[in-house]
C-alpha cells in the first residue's frame, strides 16, 4: 500500500472548493504555478484516519470537461494523463447543495473516466433553512460514490470526508451514462480502435483539441481516419456533444426527482432583495462608486501607521548595522545597499495587504458578479466586456493575475483588448511610487472632510481606469478581428466572506508579492550599491583631496565637507556616469540624473523605484533618515531647486501612471496572447505615451 495518495479537488466555481481545501490542509499548503503556464496551482497535504498521507491538489474551478479555456485545460490534462505521477488516485468533487444539478453534471463526466470519486456536498449547514432534503443512500447507490455532507464555513463533516477519501479503494468505478446510445456506430468503432482505453476518455481526447484563443474547434481528428473508424464533421460532433449533455441531465434529473426535495416556500428572498438594490439602474452605480471610494480612502489612511513604523524600523536597522559592523565593504553593502533597498519594498506590505483584502472580499461575497452585470453595457461600448471589470479591478492589485482572469471572457477580441489595456490600471507596484511622491509634493490638507493626498491617489486610480477605457475604445476601432460575441456569467448567491479564506488569500498574495519583488530588488540594490560606490576615474578615487582642494577657501564644517565629498564621489561613480549619460533624454521631463537611474532600474519592475532611490541616496550618507526625509531634502544639481518639487512630482506621477514597466506582465501577456507582438506593442505605445504626457505636464507646470 502506498504511503501517499494523490487527491484532486474539482468543482464548479463558487462552490466553496477553496474553503474545503483550506479546511483539509490548513496551513499545510503552498501556491505555485503549473510549469510553463501561469495557471495558479494550489497544493497541500493532510493526514487521513488510516495513517495515509493525502497530497491534495486544488484544481481551477470548471463547469465541464469540454475545454474552452486554459483553466479547464489544466483540469482535463490532470485527469487524462494516466501515467503522470500527479494522476489522482481519487477525485473529490465539491458541490454546492443548492446547485446540485449543475454540479452533478461535472460529477458524471469525471465518474465516466472511471476514477474513484467522492462527492463532498458543501454548504450543508443551510439545508434546513432552505428546506432541502437529500436521500444520501439513494444518491450513493445511483452515483456509485460516497457522499460527505460538509460545511467548510462551520468546519463540519471534514472528518467524514477524510474517511471517505481514505477508503477510496472501496469506491466502485462505473459509468453513469452509455455513450453508445448517442451514436452506436461511432463509439463501437472508437472502442475497437483502442480496446484498452475507457470510452469516455477516448471521446474527450478526440473533442478536447480546442483552440480556446480563437474559439474555433481545430480539425478534431485527422488521425482517426487512419485507425479506420468513422470520421464525423465538426457539426456532427457538436450534435453528439449536445446529446451527451442531454443524456447526462436526464440521468441527473431522474435522480434528483427521487432523492432531492426542496421546499420552494422556504425563504430565498435575501438574494432577490439584494439584487434589486445592487443591480438598480441608479443605486447600483451609486453603491459601486461608494464602495470604490471607501476602499481607496481606507487603503490610504489605514495603512499609514504601520507604514511609518516599518519605515522607521528599517532606518534604525540600517543605522544600527552601520555602527555595529566593522567598517568596510560588507558594512557598506548591508547598510547602504541591501537594507534600504529591502526597506523600500517592505514598507508597502500594509497597503498591498489591504488591497488584496478588499478584492478578495468583493469576490468572495458574490458582489463582483453584480458589477459585471451592471457594467457590461458600458464596457461593450468600448469594445470590452462586463467581465473586463474583474481584470480592471483586480489589476489594482497586480496586472499578472488580472491578465489571467481575462480568460473567462468568451469573445477573443474583447479578451485581447482587455489584456492589452489592463496594465493601465494602477497596480500595487505603482503604489509605492505614488505614495512617496504624493507625500512629497501634495500638501497635507483636507477638503470637504476628505484627505487631499488620498484624493490625489484616487484621482490617479481613476486616471489609470479612464486611460484603460480610452485605449480600449481606440483598439476597438483599429483591430479588425471577427469573433462571435458570446457572453455568459454565473450569478452566484451572496455569501458572507469566510474569514479564513480571505486571510489565506491576503497572506499568500502578499507573501508572493514581497518574495518576488524582494528578489529583484535585492539583486538590483546590490548592483546599484556597487555601481554607486565604485568609479573608474581618478576623480572618484581621489575625491577627498579634490574636494578639499576646491573648498579650501570656504569655511566648511566637517559635516558639510563630508557631504560634498560624498556627492562628488557619487557623481563620478559608475552609476553617476550612466545617469549623466541619459540625463539629456529625461531633463525635459524634469528629472535629474538620480531619478533617471531609478527610472532605468524600474523598467524591470516599477516597485524598484523607491528602493533604488533609497539606495542611491543612502550611499555616503551617514544620518539615520527615513526614505521620505531623504528625498525631501534632495536638491536638483542643475536647477538648484528641490529635486522633488511640484512639476517634477506631477511629471513622475504621470510617467508611472502610463508607462509599461513590468517584465513579468509582458511575459504573461505573451503567454496569454501566444505572440510577442502584443506585449511589444504594449511596451512601446504605453511608454512612448507616458513620455509625451510627462513632457507636456512638466513644461506647462514649471
Amino acid at each position: 500500500m502506498p504511503e501517499q495518495i494523490n487527491v484532486a479537488l474539482i468543482g464548479n466555481p463558487n462552490t466553496g472548493k477553496t474553503s474545503v481545501f483550506n479546511q483539509l490542509t490548513g496551513l499545510n499548503h503552498k501556491v505555485g504555478n503549473y510549469p510553463g503556464i501561469t495557471v495558479e496551482k494550489k497544493e497541500g497535504s493532510c493526514k487521513l484516519p488510516n495513517g495515509l498521507k493525502a497530497r491534495i491538489t486544488d484544481l481551477p474551478g470548471t463547469y465541464s470537461l469540454n475545454v474552452t479555456s486554459a483553466d479547464e485545460q489544466v483540469v482535463v490534462e490532470h485527469l487524462l494523463e494516466k501515467n503522470s505521477e500527479n494522476f489522482p488516485d481519487v477525485v473529490v468533487i465539491v458541490a454546492d447543495v443548492e446547485n446540485l444539478k449543475r454540479n452533478l453534471f461535472l460529477f458524471t463526466q469525471i465518474k465516466d473516466l472511471k476514477i474513484p470519486v467522492v462527492l463532498a456536498v458543501n454548504m450543508s449547514d443551510v439545508m434546513v433553512r432552505k428546506g432541502i432534503t437529500l436521500d444520501i443512500e439513494l444518491f450513493e447507490k445511483q452515483l456509485g460514490t460516497k457522499i460527505a455532507l460538509v460545511s467548510a464555513r462551520k468546519g463540519t463533516g471534514i472528518d467524514h470526508l477524510k474517511k471517505c477519501i481514505a477508503d477510496y479503494r472501496e469506491l466502485p468505478v462505473n459509468s453513469t451514462i452509455g455513450l453508445k446510445e448517442i451514436d452506436s456506430e461511432y463509439f463501437t468503432e472508437l472502442q475497437k480502435a483502442f480496446p484498452r482505453e475507457e470510452l469516455y476518455r477516448l471521446w474527450l481526447k478526440h473533442t478536447q483539441n480546442f483552440d480556446y484563443t480563437n474559439h474555433k474547434n481545430v480539425a478534431v481528428q485527422n488521425a482517426s481516419a487512419k485507425n479506420g473508424f468513422p470520421v464525423r464533421s465538426e457539426n456532427e460532433l457538436k450534435r453528439m456533444q449536445q446529446k451527451e449533455t442531454i443524456q447526462r441531465y436526464m440521468f441527473i434529473n431522474k435522480l434528483l426527482d427521487k432523492g432531492y426535495k426542496r421546499d420552494i416556500s422556504a425563504a430565498k428572498d435575501f438574494r432577490s432583495r439584494l439584487d434589486r438594490v445592487l443591480l438598480h439602474r441608479v443605486w447600483g452605480y451609486v453603491i459601486f462608486f461608494l464602495i470604490m471610494l471607501v476602499v481607496f480612502q481606507s487603503i490610504y489612511s489605514w495603512s499609514s501607521y504601520p507604514m511609518d513604523f516599518i519605515d522607521g524600523l528599517f532606518a534604525s536597522l540600517g543605522e544600527w548595522t552601520r555602527n555595529t559592523l566593522p567598517p568596510g565593504a560588507l558594512n557598506g553593502l548591508l547598510s547602504e545597499g541591501i537594507i534600504p533597498g529591502i526597506g523600500g519594498i517592505m514598507i508597502f506590505i500594509p497597503q498591498i495587504a489591504f488591497l488584496f483584502l478588499f478584492i478578495s472580499i468583493l469576490e468572495e461575497s458574490g458582489y463582483m458578479s453584480r458589477v459585471v452585470f451592471i457594467m457590461d453595457r458600458f464596457m461593450r461600448r468600448f469594445g470590452l466586456n462586463g467581465k473586463s471589470v474583474v481584470p480592471l479591478i483586480s489589476g489594482t492589485a497586480c496586472a499578472i493575475p488580472a491578465v489571467m482572469s481575462a480568460r473567462n471572457i468568451e469573445n477573443w477580441k474583447e479578451r485581447l483588448i482587455t489584456i492589452l489595456v489592463t496594465p493601465f490600471t494602477t497596480c500595487s507596484a505603482r503604489l509605492p511610487v505614488y505614495l512617496i511622491i504624493i507625500a512629497l509634493v501634495i500638501p497635507e490638507k483636507t477638503i470637504l472632510g476628505l484627505n487631499l493626498q488620498g484624493l490625489t491617489l484616487m484621482f490617479l486610480y481613476a486616471l489609470g481606469f479612464v486611460m484603460a477605457i480610452f485605449s480600449a475604445w481606440v483598439l476597438n476601432k483599429i483591430l479588425k478581428i471577427k469573433s462571435r460575441s458570446f457572453f455568459i456569467a454565473e450569478m452566484p448567491g451572496y455569501k458572507l466572506p469566510l474569514l479564513r479564506n480571505v486571510a489565506y488569500t491576503v497572506v499568500d498574495k502578499t507573501k508572493d508579492f514581497v518574495v518576488n519583488a524582494g528578489k529583484i530588488i535585492l539583486a538590483i540594490s546590490i548592483v546599484l550599491w556597487f555601481l554607486a560606490s565604485h568609479g573608474p576615474s581618478a576623480e572618484f578615487k581621489n575625491a577627498e583631496e579634490i574636494v578639499h582642494a576646491q573648498t579650501e577657501n570656504e569655511q566648511l564644517t566637517g559635516e558639510e565637507l563630508n557631504t560634498a565629498v560624498a556627492s562628488h564621489k557619487l557623481r563620478h561613480s559608475y552609476i553617476g556616469i550612466l545617469g549623466h549619460a541619459i540625463e539629456p533624454v529625461i531633463r525635459p521631463l524634469g528629472y535629474d540624473w538620480k531619478i533617471g537611474i531609478a527610472l532605468l532600474t524600474s523598467f524591470a519592475a516599477r516597485e524598484v523605484f523607491v528602493g533604488s532611490l533609497a539606495t542611491i541616496y543612502s550611499v555616503g550618507n551617514d544620518d539615520e533618515e527615513t526614505i521620505k526625509n531623504r528625498l525631501a531634502g534632495e536638491i536638483n544639481e542643475s536647477t538648484g531647486e528641490k529635486a522633488f518639487n511640484f512639476p517634477t512630482g506631477i511629471s513622475l506621477l504621470l510617467f508611472y501612471a502610463f508607462a509599461m514597466q513590468c517584465m513579468s506582465t509582458l511575459a504573461v501577456v505573451k503567454r496569454e496572447t501566444m505572440s510577442w507582438k502584443w506585449p511589444l506593442i504594449q511596451l512601446f505605445t504605453m511608454t512612448g505615451f507616458a513620455y509625451i504626457v510627462s513632457l507636456v505636464a512638466y513644461q506647462l507646470l514649471k
Binding site: 463547469y63 469540454n66 453534471f105 449533455t245 452585470f373 462586463g386
Partner: protein, 79 residues
C-alpha cells in the same frame, strides 16, 4: 400572443417558460452545459440597466447572458 418566435428575450421580468428545441450551432455548448436545454424551465429574474443582459434562472442555475443570445432560444409554451 404574437405568432412569430417567442424567445427568452421576450420574457417579462419574473415570467417563466419552458425552453423549446433549438439548433446546436446557435446555442454555445457552454450554455447547454449550464443546463440550458430543450425542456428546461427558464425564469427571467432581471434585466441589466440599459437592457443588455438578461439575468436568468434556468432550472436552478443563475446566470446572465446577452440579449442576442437569448433571442435565439425559443420558448415552447409561455407560462
Amino acid at each position: 400572443m404574437k405568432m412569430n418566435k417567442y424567445t427568452i428575450a421576450q420574457l417579462k421580468r419574473g415570467e417563466k417558460g419552458i425552453i423549446g428545441d433549438f439548433s446546436t450551432d446557435v446555442v454555445p455548448v457552454k450554455l447547454q452545459e449550464m443546463g440550458c436545454l430543450p425542456g428546461s424551465e427558464v425564469q427571467l429574474i432581471q434585466f441589466s440597466p440599459f437592457n443588455d443582459l438578461l439575468y436568468l434562472n434556468i432550472s436552478g442555475s443563475f446566470f446572465a447572458i446577452r440579449k442576442e443570445t437569448a433571442s435565439l432560444i425559443e420558448i415552447a409554451n409561455a407560462g
